[in-house]
């Protein structure tokens, strides 16, 4: 039995790597995607272009503006002198933020009255807008504290000491790059497995396999292990790039990370082979994989937190293996999660994997032709 399975695995690798195009498709696009998306996928804002409409040419207002200018998050592009200029600037997306300082700014500040600063934000991208507003508030808060100190004014009775654990500078790359590890591993594994049975069915070689003494379980193992090895290789490559190129801290244990990778691959291969044994043609397999991949990625918590989703959708995410893997990846990379805390993520992946593999094996022989 072992001998036959080894023959099957060798055959599978030969089928995948004999063709130069497939070799390229399996290695190059994931790498390019990792690099491009690693850089492109970020919620951090750098150099937010802003305009200043300063009607109060005083030292105080200039100091406030200097606070904005010195922040790495924002970059002043224009000074304007007329309120009618605001609208076209924002409309055309030349600036994301306009800071309007009214003529009485300095006077009110000195008198101890609240001096208002109006900020106008482009809300077309609501997420960007909230981040810009947060930046603005913290810049103003800094200014206030400084002003209070310098001018002997009372500081507020309570102040906040904020810290972000695991990601001190709140870099979203630290959050997204481990996510991309999961995303690309899923993509490659699905491609390898989802097409494999369907292609053999289409070419007639699957019938030829079924008339040999090979048992369904042997064919299943023979199909699963190559996907597993390729997925493992791909995941390792991406993890290495994440750690050494993007310098994402790896705080947990490798053993934890790889037990997650192992179980995730099991579930991804299970889903892939199930789709593959359901499909009659390669096109159907491809579409099936696509119809699975898109919701799986969107509902995994990769870019948008699962807690923000409505309850019904949250329930739906429990059948998505990527959901669990995302938690494992981020937990191990950034938090150094111990085994007990990872357990609730690990067993569902194992369950999904075993169930799907079982169904796939059954479908090999019982699918109506």
């Amino acid at each position: 039995m072992l001998y036959r399975i080894i023959a099957l695995i060798r055959k599978e690798f030969l089928a995948l790597f004999k063709d130069k195009k497939t070799r390229v498709v399996l290695v190059v696009p994931p790498l390019i995607q990792l690099l491009v998306f690693g850089y492109a996928a970020t919620f951090d804002l750098n150099h937010v272009p802003f305009a200043v409409y300063n009607e109060d040419s005083s030292s105080a207002s200039r100091e406030l503006i200097a606070h904005f200018e010195s922040s790495p998050n924002s970059q002043k592009t224009t000074d304007i002198s007329d309120s009618r200029e605001i609208q076209p600037l924002i409309d055309a997306r030349e600036v994301m933020l306009v800071i309007h300082i009214s003529p009485q700014f300095k006077r009110k500040l000195v008198l101890g009255e609240p001096a208002p600063v109006q900020v106008i934000v482009d809300g077309r991208n609501s997420n960007t807008a909230s981040i810009v507003l947060n930046y603005t508030r913290s810049i103003v808060t800094d200014f206030n504290l400084q002003w209070a100190q310098q001018h002997g004014r009372a500081s507020p009775p309570v102040y906040l000491q904020s810290r972000a654990w695991f990601n001190d500078n709140l870099q979203s790359r630290w959050f997204l790059v481990p996510g991309i590890v999961g995303l690309l591993t899923l993509l490659v594994t699905m491609l390898v497995t989802a097409m494999s049975v369907a292609r053999e069915r289409e070419q007639g070689t699957f019938d030829q396999l079924l008339v040999t003494p090979l048992r369904p379980i042997e064919i299943l193992i023979g199909k699963a292990i190559p996907g597993f090895i390729i997925g493992l290789f791909e995941a390792t490559l991406i993890i290495l790039i994440a750690v050494f190129w993007f310098e994402i801290p790896l705080r947990g244990e490798l053993l934890m990370l790889y037990s997650g990778v192992f179980l995730f691959l099991l579930s991804a291969i299970g889903v892939g082979l199930m789709i593959s044994s359901l499909a009659a043609t390669q096109q159907q397999a491809l579409l099936g994989a696509f119809l699975f991949l898109v919701p799986a990625i969107i509902l995994s918590g990769f870019a948008t937190p699962i807690e923000n989703m409505p309850d019904a959708v949250q329930t739906l995410t429990y059948i998505n293996p990527l959901r669990y893997f995302m938690v494992v990846l981020r937990g191990v990379f950034l938090e150094g999660m111990p085994f007990e805390l990872l357990m609730p993520q690990l067993w569902p992946m194992a369950l999904i994997g075993v169930t799907c593999l079982f169904l796939a094996g059954w479908l090999f022989r019982h699918r109506m032709v």
Partner: protein, 590 residues
């Protein structure tokens, strides 16, 4: 016999349907350069059917595509209906009908919708449509199926619909690329009737390529291509006349027909020996009559009679010299005897797809060492029966056991005793020959020294040694078929399942193939085979003819021929018998 007609026709200014002047065409596949056509000059006359004959890779399809303006020549000139293909492709395409090997029917459109599409594309005026449609539908017998999706038609009906689509606006030149491959004899006759009627009534010119050599005899003229060169051109009778006085039919009561054929084929002076029912047909290398006494020393009941030559004899003679022949040795396998009972037992086997009953309580037994043929029109249920017997399809009801075991009960051990060769090439195309052999050897549980010795045997036996490292996809059809067979025989199976094993394969490769089957059968291997070639059915010990999911007749070829005897046709061929027996049921089905 003229190797080129050009000299004779140069002064003749009458228009030809197709004129080729030193046409060459090469393709590059990977690093290899393939010379598909090599300086062909020919003239194809108007108003008749011209056959294009040749083995695989002779350049038939390339020639068709060049004529249709789908490819450009590398050198040389090509004229269709007096117009140059290179410059007037669009004008030619308006006068041309072309049916590629796999006609581009839209399988998710209905028969009527496919017809409408081609009528619109060909610009058939609306007023002419009702009468033309009626004519075509009547001719093809598709009138009752106009609403059915093309994908749900049987293979024969698909070909007829394809032909109807090409004929929707009567073209002046009709190009047909192997229109009858994989089509049952009844549909084949009907297709020919349609084509001949068209030629008669509209003076259409037809160029048709085919692997069935009996079809070549129906053509007015034949072009014989080989490896991109034109070997010969002329009326088919001219071809067969060359062998006048060299063809005989022989029978001997003291020997089985297979043993007889084997002995004769190795006898000196014999070019070809072919089983035909209980007789063996002989083609001699020269006009000396066969020295039967010497050939069959001590055999009783030998009868010899001269028969008229056929086109096929001449084909074998002309190409047999040009293609290297691989000796078919006798050292095949050491088959372990089947323990008790018949090799295959089928009892009330039924298979339904939804409400459709594809196979309807079929029963038969196949004895050990028997060659059993399953015949029938496309869609009669042959392949379904076959797939159930191989364990590829669950049985709806009834019982089927192979080598004493029910195959669908996941009996992996029983599967180790069968070999299977499917309709189309179904090995790993991107693997080399040796990789395929190694993989299937291991899949059948062979290993180590034993596997290596079987692979060595296969390479030598099937003449594959020179192609060991070639990709299977790059092999010619004949070689691919040899490889499939080699893979199916690696584990020395007791029972061999062959599903249309020779579909599309040229006559020479087919002969070689059957020679092997016969040797295997002699050694006790049981063979179950489906085919559309009636000459192949002659090799079988017993035949079952299926129609609409049931077995119509079961018996030896001779018995079946007797059943179809009529006063007007006292000695029917197997094809005549097949058509006679099957006709009432197909009409019933329609």
């Amino acid at each position: 016999m003229k190797t080129a007609m050009r000299d004779r026709d140069e002064n003749n200014s009458t228009e030809a349907a197709l004129e080729l002047n030193a046409v060459s065409k090469t393709f590059t596949s990977g690093k290899r350069i393939i010379q598909a056509l090599d300086g062909i000059s020919a003239r194809i006359s108007l108003g008749c059917i011209t056959g294009l004959i040749g083995s695989d890779g002779a350049g038939k399809t390339t020639l068709m595509r060049l004529a249709a303006g789908l490819l450009l020549t590398d050198s040389g000139q090509m004229k269709v209906l007096g117009r140059d293909v290179a410059t007037e492709a669009l004008a030619i395409q308006a006068m041309l009908g072309y049916m590629p090997q796999r006609f581009g029917l839209y399988e998710d459109l209905s028969v009527q919708e496919n017809l409408d599409l081609y009528a619109d594309l060909q610009g058939l005026p609306l007023a002419e449509r009702p009468s033309r449609y009626a004519e075509l539908m009547h001719m093809t017998g598709l009138a009752t199926f106009t609403r059915r999706l093309a994908g749900q038609l049987s293979g024969g009906m698909k070909q007829k619909l394809g032909l109807a689509c090409t004929l929707v606006r009567s073209p002046q030149l009709l190009l047909l690329d192997e229109p009858t491959v994989g089509v049952d004899p009844v549909s084949r006759r009907e297709l020919w009737a349609i084509i001949e009627r068209q030629v008669e009534s509209t003076q259409m010119s037809v160029l048709l390529s085919t692997a069935y050599l009996d079809e070549a005899e129906r053509c007015a003229e034949v072009l014989l291509l080989h490896e991109g060169k034109l070997l010969s051109q002329g009326p088919p009778a001219e071809f067969s006349n060359r062998l006048k006085g060299r063809t005989y039919s022989l029978s001997a009561t003291g020997l089985t027909k297979r043993e007889l054929q084997r002995r004769l084929s190795r006898a000196p002076g014999v070019l070809d020996a072919l089983i035909q029912g209980e007789h063996v047909r002989l083609v001699m290398t020269n006009h000396e009559p066969p020295d039967v006494k010497h050939m069959l020393l001590g055999i009783e009941g030998v009868e010899l009679s001269a028969v008229p030559p056929r086109f096929e004899d001449s084909f074998v003679e002309m190409l047999g010299i040009n293609t290297p022949k691989y000796p078919v040795s006798d050292s095949h396998t050491s088959v372990k005897p089947i323990t008790g009972g018949a090799a295959i037992e089928v009892q009330d086997l039924t298979r339904c797809f939804g409400k459709f009953v594809a196979v309807d309580s079929v029963s038969f037994n196949v004895g050990r060492g028997e060659v059993f043929g399953l015949l029938g029109a496309n869609g009669a249920g042959k392949t379904t029966t076959f797939r159930m017997l191989c364990g590829l399809l669950p049985v709806s009801s009834g019982r089927a056991s192979v080598a004493g075991v029910d195959l669908h009960q996941a009996a992996a051990t029983a599967r180790a005793r069968i070999g299977y060769m499917s309709q189309r090439f179904s090995l790993y195309g991107q693997f080399s020959v040796i990789q395929n052999l190694r993989f299937f050897g291991s899949a059948y549980g062979l290993n180590g020294v034993h596997r290596q010795s079987r692979i060595d045997w296969a390479l030598q036996e099937f003449g594959l040694a020179s192609e060991v490292d070639s990709n299977s996809d790059a092999l010619s059809l004949g070689y691919r078929q040899r490889l499939s067979m080699a893979c199916a025989l690696l584990h020395e199976p007791e029972i061999l399942f062959l599903d249309e094993p020779t579909s599309g394969v040229d006559p020479l490769a087919r002969r070689e193939f059957w020679r092997r089957i016969n040797t295997l059968a002699e050694q006790g291997v049981t063979v179950l085979v489906t085919t559309h070639f009636m000459e192949e059915a002659e090799y079988c010990d017993r035949l079952a003819i299926m129609a609409a999911g049931r077995i119509l007749v079961l018996g030896s070829p001779a018995e079946i021929k007797t059943k179809a005897q009529t006063v007007s046709q006292p000695t029917p061929t197997l094809e005549d018998a097949f058509i006679r027996l099957i006709q009432p049921s197909t009409e019933l089905q329609a």
